[in-house]
């Protein structure tokens, strides 16, 4: 394809080619420079011999389409793409740092590291899913960690962009992906479900936790299909100190039916960042694989249900937002927490896939740290949690939909804003007090959250009954006239 071979010292479209960094199966990477670009960049060129695998060409074509569309820290910044007919290449930001590949040799990893890496990957997936892209080849070698800590996803050659033609889907009937990581629906030819990436991430987390691959390394199509009905050995059976909450998360990712996985990458990140908050089901506790009967049932159901295309990504994400209710547990009766609860109830009725995080801020004095116990010696933190649960009880939510968090901070607004940012909250709902000696203070919390939180914010206010409306005032006047 390439008219002239790329070589150190040559110039392509203004890019001066430096050292060859890598030469892999499908592509080579070169260090390049251009005078107007002041950050490190690399040139990726396909290595396609004559009559070579057509997938490699189409896959490079797809990456040339998709990478320039992506923005943000979770994908390498694309600088330029070279005409496929003339000199095919992609020039992109060089991301320093390591891929997750070497970690496979170090597995099993410490539990906290697994949750941390998993959350970073899930946050990166959330970022690309929100840009209409499904990666479809998530594996340790395709995830880099920046020095600043964020995960960067690379190699979008097998990806799907839902607003662009999927050239791979049209041309290849075989499942496209990497054997150990490919999701069951990809095996069945579905390339439009963002939850496929959650499955592949689950395979990674399983490997990090146990040192083993959940579905081995299948090399035939029939071996690949086994994951459609056969569940993996529970991590706790391999590594006894795997916490139930982590097994719950990993096995949920590895559910064969995408509908049983986390509805969004953001909700998966939420669970990984808040270990132990989500309830544990039988999935988290089991130490044996499903029974033969269960497996056969799954296999039978599979025959009767054809693979279905997924809903558009934006619809999936919008149907399953993370909602934060900032609950003020003040002692006075003017607290508008009832009105807040009604608003939350309305939103959850409309969006049953939503996750609700009930948050309260326990204000600390900047100096002095004897806040933990109140005058009666009770643990205030625990008491607040109990009150939060009680606040949410009338909502009658199914187990797992709500979690409860007491944040300790001298800065109420700052704590709420940080919480919303870290947990990728989509919608924060706060109550404002209609009347209170603290009105000014609370008002400033709400206005700061509205101004600074990286999400939609709804301010709920109870009607102020102390202000007489004109009709009441007129009645009052007529009364006094009558009395007079």
């Amino acid at each position: 394809m390439a008219r002239e071979p790329l070589a150190t010292g040559a110039t392509v479209d203004g890019f001066l080619i430096g050292e060859k960094l890598h030469s892999g199966g499908m592509a080579a990477l070169w260090e390049v420079t251009r005078s107007d670009i002041d950050y490190p960049i690399v040139l990726k060129a396909p290595q396609i011999q004559d009559g070579d695998d057509a997938t490699a060409i189409v896959s490079f074509e797809m990456e040339q389409m998709i990478l320039p569309q992506l923005t943000g820290v979770h994908a390498p910044r694309c600088v330029a793409v070279g005409d496929l007919a003339r000199q095919p290449y992609i020039v992109m930001e060089y991301v320093p740092g390591h891929s997750l590949l070497p970690l496979l040799d170090k597995a099993p990893l410490p539990i906290a590291d697994i949750a941390d890496l998993g959350a970073k990957c899930a946050i990166a997936l959330d970022a690309i899913h929100r840009q209409h892209v499904i990666h479809l080849d998530i594996k340790p070698s395709n995830v880099l960690i920046r020095d600043s800590g964020e995960a960067v996803l690379i190699d979008f050659g097998l990806s799907h962009h839902e607003l662009m033609p999927d050239l791979l889907a049209e041309e290849f009937r075989l499942p496209i992906g990497t054997g150990p990581y490919i999701s069951p629906e990809q095996v069945r030819g579905v390339r439009s479900d963002p939850r496929s990436d959650l499955f592949s991430l689950g395979v990674m987390l399983y490997h990090f936790a146990t040192g083993q691959r959940p579905f081995g390394y299948p090399r035939t199509k029939s071996a690949l299909r086994a994951r459609l009905w056969r569940d993996p050995v529970p991590p706790r059976a391999i590594r006894a100190d795997t916490p139930e909450w982590l097994q719950e998360i990993i096995l949920r990712c590895l559910e064969s039916d995408p509908g049983l996985r986390h509805p969004t990458a953001a909700q998966l990140a939420f669970d990984l960042q808040n270990p132990g908050e989500a309830p544990i089901t039988a999935r988290g506790r089991k130490t044996q694989r499903d029974s033969l009967a269960t497996m056969l049932r799954r296999r039978w159901r599979l025959h009767s249900t054809p693979a279905r295309a997924a809903l558009p990504i934006a619809e999936q994400i919008e149907a399953a937002p993370i909602v934060m209710a900032a609950v003020d547990l003040g002692d006075d009766l003017t607290t508008p927490s009832d009105v807040l609860r009604e608003t939350v109830a309305r939103i959850l009725r409309a969006l049953p896939g939503a996750r609700l995080a009930c948050v309260n801020v326990l204000r600390l004095n900047r100096i002095g740290a004897n806040y933990v116990l109140d005058e009666q010696g009770r643990n205030i933190h625990v008491q607040r949690l109990v009150e939060l649960r009680e606040w949410a009880r009338p909502l009658g939510l199914p187990e797992g939909q709500a979690t409860f968090h007491v944040l300790e901070s001298p800065d109420t607004a700052g704590a709420l804003i940080d919480y919303a940012r870290v947990n990728r909250v989509d919608h924060a709902i706060l109550g404002a007090r209609a009347r209170s000696p603290l009105l000014r203070l609370v008002g400033s919390v709400a206005s700061r959250v509205i101004a600074e939180a990286p999400c939609t914010v709804t301010l709920v206010r109870a009607p102020d009954l102390s202000v007489a409306d004109p009709a009441t005032a007129a009645d009052g006047a007529s009364d006094s006239w009558k009395n007079g």
């Binding site: 074509e61 389409m65 607003l163 041309e171």
Partner: protein, 246 residues
């Protein structure tokens, strides 16, 4: 350079004006009209005159089957189309009819072909309704990119060497890059009579530097366009379908 490509205006003044204004706001520098300036709508004279002025200032204007029928036969048309053509004939003067008659069927610029219906036989007014139709068109030309209209529904077909043609329905305004290794048939929606269940006027912008096409929609004053069709006593379906885009 950004080129606005519009097809199937069909005498709909309000839709045409809305698309031109929308395109201007996007910074478009050139215009290509893929034919069917008239038929169905109540303002054929306005659309023809405007197209003529655009042609004078460098726009490409092509012939569509409805334009051809003004001075030709309506034998292949359904009764509504025929009624509209007969009505339109009485509304156009000699010069306007001559302008339509003289329009070319195709226009070629580098590896881009513009045509009203499709490339395999531009005289036959073949409708591209499936991948096989699209493949026939793409195989008939060495142009890598063909733009056409005629079916009033936006679609993008692509064809790689040694493969079969495959369709994609554009579902956003995001520009889609058309790689140089395959053939593309970009089917535009209609300006004046959309039929893809979206009543907004449809057109496209081709970015020649990035080789990318964006399928765009703009709302327009349907009420006014429909009322004129009613006042002209044209078949009722021609006004009703504008509201629902089918």
């Amino acid at each position: 350079m950004l080129i606005a490509i519009m097809s199937d205006m069909h005498g709909n003044r309000e839709a045409f004006d809305a698309c031109l204004a929308h395109a201007q706001r996007q910074g478009v520098e050139r215009y290509v009209l893929l034919g069917d300036l008239v038929g169905y709508g109540a303002d054929p004279g306005y659309v023809v005159d405007l197209a003529r002025r655009m042609q004078d200032s460098g726009a490409v204007v092509l012939l569509g089957n409805h334009d051809e029928a003004i001075s030709g036969s309506t034998a292949d048309m359904n009764e509504y189309a025929r009624a509209a053509i007969e009505w339109t004939r009485c509304r156009l003067d000699v010069a306007q009819k001559k302008f339509l008659r003289d329009l070319p069927r195709t226009h070629r610029e580098g590896d881009v072909l513009y045509v009203h219906s499709e490339a395999s036989d531009p005289r036959a007014w073949i409708y591209v309704t499936n991948s096989a139709d699209a493949e026939r068109s793409m195989r008939a030309t060495d142009a890598r990119i063909t733009f056409c209209g005629h079916v009033h529904r936006p679609l993008l077909y692509h064809l790689a060497p040694g493969k079969q043609a495959a369709p994609f329905t554009p579902n956003s305004a995001l520009p889609i890059p058309l790689s140089a290794t395959r053939h593309w048939l970009a089917v535009l929606g209609a300006v004046g009579q959309p039929r893809d269940h979206n009543p907004c006027a449809a057109y496209a912008i081709f970015d020649t530097e990035r080789r990318a096409v964006a399928w765009l929609r703009t709302p327009y004053d349907i009420e006014r366009a429909a009322q004129k069709i009613k006042n002209a006593r044209l078949p009722a379906i021609l006004s009703a379908r504008l509201y629902v885009g089918r």
